[in-house]
């Protein structure tokens, strides 16, 4: 316990130099935790929204269905197999039928995806109840982004044209029953939702679907030919990749700050070793080995991170807690980002994040503190006492 006590004493004795390093390092602590927490919060928020509104507990896709290839949509449908139909009958799944169509808002042609969903479904948190047909007209549901891009309002009638299962063009008027506000652009942009049975009838695709969304926590997943189950891991892979990319981009900022702090500590260590050679010589004369002096100087440097952790906790915890409660209001037009961002982002700080950050900074600081002390290993006591490096 002698070395840590001496190290702390020396560090505190260095005064302003120590506190400058500590403050910069504490900023790194807070910034890393804040930014990583923000990305974690954003990632969780997006994933939760996607699962809640679109993905459920995973999806069965018709073998020809490829959401990234609209040209295959024409063939991407088929009769729902019995094992999956059983799940649908038990409200453990809901089918979605997807087809390409065209609308003509304000006289202009606009290709869209026409999607059919059961108005009574409860599998996903989607406002399909507005699709209950009441007066023979076809109700349609669109999102705010779609409404904005087409200029459609509730009650508007619009012509939709499509090709049915036999390849015949057909068209009908539909009316906008509701405009939903959702944070998930994947169920909004370029899409019009209508009742599933109506769509099946219009398309000539009785009992067919393009995909089937499973309810959350369904453990028994039947294996059926012609249909592939897509797990949440698969469905969320793009989002995970996006978050990872954003995290990497964001980390440049705090890595830069951390680099500055490390440079300051490295500089302090180099200066310390240069200026305190006589002190080292005196310690050696009193019986300290070079190894103990290296330990002392390394620990002095490493303790910067401990002090920084304490300082960061003093101002960082209130800031981070306040931010976690208040959230970060997204700027105007945030919903054009193409990902399921809410109006506010709420950071999530996990114990792993805090512990990992502490360990990262402690390790990096210790390494940076140790590097300059290697010179001490070659230091002769007589040279040190004269204030010279060997």
């Amino acid at each position: 316990m002698i070395i840590p006590k001496l190290a702390l004493r020396n560090l505190l004795g260095a005064g302003l130099r120590t506190w400058l390093n500590v403050v910069v390092l504490s900023l790194s602590f807070v910034l890393i935790i804040w930014l990583q927490g923000l990305y974690k919060g954003m990632g969780d928020q997006i994933k939760e929204a996607e699962i809640d509104v679109e993905y459920g507990g995973g999806q069965y896709w018709h073998e020809s269905y490829d959401p990234y290839d609209p040209l295959t949509l024409e063939d991407a449908h088929g009769a729902v197999p019995d094992p999956i139909q059983n799940k649908i009958d038990k409200d453990e799944a809901t089918p979605v039928l997807i087809a390409q169509a065209t609308i003509y808002p304000e006289g202009r042609l606009q290709p869209i995806l026409l999607k059919g969903i059961d108005p009574a479904q409860t599998v996903v948190n989607f406002p399909s109840q507005f699709l209950v047909q009441e007066n023979g007209e076809i109700p349609a549901l669109i999102g705010t982004r779609m409404a904005k891009s087409t200029g459609l309002k509730i009650g508007d009638m619009i012509i939709v044209r499509w090709r049915d299962a036999q390849g015949t063009f057909d068209a009908r008027d539909i009316y906008i029953a509701q405009i939903m506000k959702t944070i998930v652009p994947a169920v909004d942009q370029g899409q019009i939702w209508i009742p599933l049975e109506t769509m099946r009838e219009l398309m000539g695709m009785q009992n067919e679907a393009s995909l089937v969304v499973m309810a959350k926590d369904i453990e028994e997943l039947p294996v059926v030919s012609g249909w592939n189950f897509k797990s949440l891991e698969f469905l969320l892979a793009d989002i995970e990749y996006l978050i990872k990319t954003k995290k990497t981009g964001g980390s440049i900022m705090y890595m830069f700050l951390l680099l500055l702090a490390m440079l300051a500590i490295f500089n302090t260590q180099v200066l310390s070793i240069f200026r305190r050679k006589k002190e080292m010589g005196t310690m050696m004369a009193m019986g300290f080995t070079r190894g103990k002096i290296i330990q002392l100087f390394t620990l002095e440097g490493a303790l910067h991170s401990v002090l920084a952790g304490i300082i960061a906790a003093i101002y960082g915890i209130p800031f981070l807690v306040w931010f976690a409660k208040k959230g970060w209001a997204m700027p105007e037009g945030y919903d054009d980002f193409g990902i399921a961002l809410g109006e506010k982002l709420f950071p999530i700080y996990t114990a792993g994040l805090v512990f990992g950050t502490v360990m990262l900074i402690l390790t990096v600081t210790t390494i940076v503190s140790f590097l300059p002390t290697r010179k001490i290993a070659k230091l002769k006591p007589t040279d040190a006492l004269r204030g010279r490096l060997s």
Partner: protein
Amino acid sequence: MDNSYLIRTKDLVKTYPVGQTKLYALNRVNLDFKPGEFAGLVGPSGSGKTTFLNIVGSLDSPSEGSVVVMGKKIEDLSHKQAAWLRNKNIGFIFQTFNLLPVYTVYENVEFPLLLLNLSPKERKEKVIKALEWVKLADRAKSKPAQLSGGEGQRVAVARAIVKEPSIILADEPTANLDAENSFNILDTMEELNHELNTTFIFATHDEKVIKYLRRKITLVDGKVAKDEVYEQKNSKGDN
């Protein structure tokens, strides 16, 4: 080996390379020191006084010859063994005091005890005793920057004697002190020499110090030119 000697050097040579040649800092030095001696190495700058103290203090090693301190051959000691010898048996006093600036007087004096595995209570007793010896108990909480030169050197003396070593090596201890402080320090060291039977070896060319010596060894160009022993302190500074 004759155990009555605390330090014995035999044909001690220390050379430093200077270009293609060697500079002899010490050249065939044969000296013995008994417990309780109050001796000094005198001579002009470059005569090898500090080099001799460094080797005896196990801070440096001889180029040739043999140095035995407290029964240990300096040339055979590892770095750790040398550090242990210094920690247990040798106290150093330097010309520039070499106090650690961030520590208080108390902590500076306590410093050599930290490696000795003493309990805090034992350490405290020894530090207080050492500070009382040098009459600085009332300045225990002061920082080195708050002390006068004389006080600073007295702290250095207290730090050297706190572990009650067998040998204290003092390199020009009065060089930075005025006459009054020099005499105070020397009186203190003489008292400790009597009280604790500690061997003091000085490296000096200060006449004030020479007056106190009971043995004066004159070094010239790394060789022993004279080795004089006095019954009592050499109060006239007589050569």
